[in-house]
Symmetry: none
DNA sequence: CAAAAAATGGAATTTATAGTCCATTATGGT
DNA sequence: ACCATAATGGACTATAAATTCCATTTTTTG
């Protein structure tokens, strides 16, 4: 205990965490990352729980506490328990509070979007058709190459899937329409097109689907409702309905479905 | 009520507390009063501390817990600790199990991602700093031009914000590094840079922030934890921690914050 | 490529805390 | 006022958690 004692405030704690985080071996870095993302849990967890969360041994977590400047876990925990005072109402109380009291402020807006996102996610589970999802995974898994098209509002989803496929060594090409270059001739037999479009639907996407569909190329479509124009073509359609707030959508549900599709295809291919 | 276990929710706890409070001897009533006024402390205190606060012996407090329907203090405390962290039992371990368990079933995978997304959203609401958010909105609202940079995994977020700003007539430029063109000279005095980066952090983004930061251009950063390298620079930092699956994140919380920021800036400018 | 240093995992140990028991004190009824 | 009953305080025990130690593995360095 010759140590003058570790950080005395959460702010100091964060600074120390950052300072230390640059030069840390594997396991201790895991501790740092987990702690950074779950500071609120320190107050109510045991070393064993924190260690498990970080995916390390309790003793490793202890070493981390010491590196942070504390004598051990208990001392670190004390900091968080004391700072905890009376704050932290639960989720629903806080949400309500933000909505009413902070009306017009960015925080209130955040509360609305969070709520819309949550509702969309819950809805997604109810509406997604398990068979269609499996069919989509099967089709994409068999493809020589996956051609992803999604423009404007759908572009974030398309680019995200492109990133995910790349990371999993799934051959995929993102059709981004940069410079109005049309790359539809890159689509060959044995390939599959993954089309993403939401109202208002991009004509470019519809056109592309129409063209490849006529050639007998399988199409998997990620779209909003059943009335989507992509329905006309003989595509495996996955529909997501986002709850929107004002004129904007948070895309939570769509991205959730997108990542699921990506990971499922990735594992199906490697397995 | 069967002795099979005490109240399972905070609400049930409060009801039981009220129900019981009418017929209680002196010391136990002290316990009830103290608990009613300090519910939040239960999660982070020991019996001894609670007893001292209530002005009774630890054994008296134990009896109180039993009268409330719990087997002892630990069981009562568990209720409060769990509702505090949101009820999720160890995500990283759960997702690890998912690897083996949900293989072959895309629907199960979807359910997990939905759940992860929901948890991330709840967590976002709890952890976002209202002041930083307001500062970020203020800074971006004053900008002549907003320069958005976000590569790889962050690119979907960057492109989404770019789309949203465009729709709201907010002057914004997406720095996409297409063709390795470096457009940092487009950034002028009076502009603001909005940098988005998540672990593993893109060097291009860090470099850009470093360069413009030195020139005195304000930077708003959207990043994951406080360990992010963007911390070094004098930026307004908004951090989001997303529950991830291997190398993948559903981005639900991140996009939610992104759209909030966009809409807040959009309305602040037009108002 | 071998030796040294650092990092790690797991078991052993220590400490703190919850939970129990019983003698003593207060309370209410006859 | 006395007995019966309930409530209380404090010491004791069991249990769970924090912390330490050391053998083993991994990484670095000459």
């Amino acid at each position: 205990m010759g140590e003058a004692g570790g950080p005395a405030t959460i702010k100091a704690f964060e600074e120390r965490l950052f300072e230390v985080s640059t030069s840390l071996p594997k396991r201790l870095r895991q501790c740092a990352d987990y702690v950074a993302a779950n500071k609120d849990r320190i107050a109510v967890s045991t070393v064993a729980e924190m260690a498990e969360g970080a995916g390390v041994q309790p003793s490793a977590f202890m070493r981390f506490c010491q590196i942070m400047g504390f004598s051990g876990f208990s001392e670190m925990q004390r900091l968080f328990r004391e700072t905890f005072v009376g704050g932290w109402p639960d989720y629903s109380t806080r949400l309500q509070h933000l909505r009413e009291k902070a009306e017009g402020s960015p925080s209130a807006l955040l509360a609305e979007f969070v709520e819309a996102g949550r509702a969309s996610l819950e809805n997604l589970l109810k509406t997604v058709d398990a068979h269609h999802l499996e069919d989509a995974v099967a089709a994409l898994s068999k493809a020589n190459m996956i051609h992803i098209i999604g423009l404007r509002r759908s572009f974030p989803v398309a680019s995200y899937m492109s990133y995910a496929f790349e990371k999993m060594d799934v051959p995929a090409m993102l059709h981004s329409a940069v410079g109005r270059l049309d790359s539809r001739n890159a689509i060959r037999d044995g390939d599959v097109v993954l089309a993403i479009t939401f109202s208002p639907y991009s004509v470019e996407t519809i056109e592309l689907v129409e063209a490849v569909s006529a050639r007998g190329i399988p199409v998997v479509a990620l779209t909003d409702t059943i009335v989507s124009p992509l329905r006309k073509f003989d595509a495996i359609t996955l529909s997501v309905s986002e709850v929107d707030f004002g004129a904007f959508r948070s895309l939570s549900a769509t991205l959730c479905l997108a990542i699921t599709l990506s990971v499922a295809v990735g594992t199906a291919r490697s397995g």
